[in-house]
């Protein structure tokens, strides 16, 4: 499911004294089946951009094509498009509401008018995929831990079988283990289901570990785009944009400055250890 964005602009409170340009001439293509990280400082336009992907916001000008279809062209297609593009908001567990985990996850498929058997299959598959064991399915979602709740909320989106999954800070507020669990599961989902994943995050370490390509947004424009190695090597550029590189990238830079001969594009712990060992030999 390829996404193509052409000259996308969006202004909040257009025509009033509080008008604020949130997106300015955004052009980008996201390949089908890719795992893309979207980073940018607070207020850079990340959320505005992803809300356009399933028509929660409409462009002021420009176009969004998903598999060649202009998603704003035909209102009758809205439901189909929203099924295709699953959006997981920040703190999705705040949206849990039903009596049991199972019922909560089945809410979407039920509303989509699916058959009972189909619903059952989808709910079970989604819950299994996010690692929620069957003994929790009949529990109230509110009895679960923070990380579990969040995974149930993600399962609710997965049960709609989206072809594009957009996650806004899925690990915010979780402890390191919860963080790793949820992110590893997203990675695994991407690999098994072959869906396109767009991950919005403030954690450079998480982005470095997971994605194939990074988009950097600042003041409503895509300012950098490339493989993690390419982006995280640009420490000064990232800082100027209110971001940072990974902790490891800074260590490598400082070692280089001290005169240690190291390659330029190291940003994960494993690669750093290997590179330092080589340099010490």
């Amino acid at each position: 499911m390829a996404i193509e964005i052409k000259d996308l602009c969006h202004t909040y409170s257009r025509g009033s004294a509080f008008a604020k340009k949130a997106l300015n001439q955004v052009n980008l293509t996201i390949d089908s089946g890719s795992f893309v990280g979207l980073i940018g400082h607070t207020g850079s336009g990340k959320s505005t951009l992803v809300q356009h992907l399933n028509v929660l916001l409409r462009p002021e000008s420009g176009q969004i094509l998903i598999d060649g279809e202009d998603i704003n062209a035909d209102k009758a297609r809205l439901k189909a498009i929203r099924t295709k593009v699953g959006l997981v908001f920040q703190y999705p567990e705040h949206q849990l509401f039903d009596m049991t985990v199972y019922k909560d996850v089945s809410f979407g498929p039920k509303n989509a008018g699916l058959e009972e058997d189909e619903i059952k299959e989808r709910v079970e598959a989604a819950l299994t995929l996010v690692g929620i064991a069957p003994e929790l399915w009949e529990k109230s979602p509110f009895e679960l831990s923070g990380g579990q709740k969040r995974r149930v909320a993600i399962a609710g989106v997965l049960a709609m079988r989206p072809e594009i999954l957009v996650l806004d800070e899925p690990a915010a507020g979780l402890d390191p283990r919860g963080r790793n669990e949820i992110l590893d599961q997203i990675k695994q989902m991407h690999e098994t289901l072959k869906i396109t994943v767009i991950l919005v995050s403030h954690s450079m370490e998480d982005i470095a570990r997971l994605v194939e390509r990074i988009l950097v947004i600042s003041h409503g424009e895509i300012v950098l785009s490339g493989a993690p190695a390419e982006i995280f090597a640009q420490i000064e550029a990232l800082e100027a944009l209110g971001l940072s590189s990974t902790q490891t990238a800074y260590i490598m830079r400082d070692l280089q400055a001290k005169g240690m001969s190291l390659p330029d594009n190291i940003f994960t712990v494993e690669d750093a250890v290997a590179a330092i060992l080589r340099a010490l030999k």
């Binding site: 940018g40 400082h41 607070t42 207020g43 831990s145 923070g146 990380g147 800070e169 915010a172 507020g173 979780l174 402890d175 390191p176 283990r177 919860g178 963080r179 403030h202 450079m204 370490e205 800082e239 209110g242 971001l243 940072s244 990974t246 902790q247 490891t248 800074y250 260590i251 400082d254 070692l255 001290k258 240690m260 712990v269 750093a272 250890v273 330092i276 060992l277 010490l280």
Partner: protein, 303 residues
Amino acid sequence: MEYIVKAEGLVFEYQAPPVAEDLKKPGKKAEKIEIEVEIEAPPAATPALDGVDMGIKQGEFVAVLGHNGSGKSTLAKHINCLLMPTSGTVWVKGIATSDEEKIWDIRQSVGMVFQNPDNQIIATIVEEDVAFGPENLGIEPAEIRRRVDESLATVGMSEFAGHPPHHLSGGQKQRVAIAGILAMRPDIIVLDEATAMLDPIGRREVMKVAKQLNEQENITIILITHYMDEAALADRIVVMSEGKVVMSGAPGEVFTHIDTLQGIGLDVPQAAEIAHKLRLAGVALPDGIVTGAQLVEALWQSK
């Protein structure tokens, strides 16, 4: 007075919702209701804090680590009397938090900053928000003016004094929240995951202000966080798990226990992890490396 905050045998249980006496027995059928329902006995309350003993000294910068549900925030809420111990005692500046007459003194001494910047700002103009605390304390207007200006200057937000808060970034909002606390002249500031929702620069801004308040104003800082690199900047780390303090020591000490920490759902900063893996590969490095600067220095020395 040795400790500014001290807890002894602190136990706290979140209470299960009350159930009528005659329905409490397991499997007992509710006869008074027309539909027949089986009512389960309420689960025994599990203590969120299970015998915590700890002390924090005046002027210390302490990071509290622990998995979700380990009791970190419950502990923090005891320090300014938002929660009262089920048993045991918490003292702040030598006053027991259970002393109802002193509750406002304690709350004035202990400022808290929470996770979501948007839930903590109440006024429509930055300086009015900062003035809210001292106004409620009944302080003279001239003195309030002075404190607001000083506090905003301390957190580097003076130029935004007349701005509406909703145009600020997350890091700026958190600094305004800290200024609001400073205007009440606290002895202790508790940052309860105050950086969790911020972008990298926002996190750095808040950490810089916390460090500066600790070093220059001698304010005791209690930093609750899931970011190991932030905890590495503290004087001491307290690790909690299942409502108990399981480790306490300097970052260099605590972060050498990589397996134990990972076993309770935590991690170590990347610098400590790199140092650990290099040691395993036979590189001679000193113990206690937790920051990038320390690692770079040690590697430089070892060459």
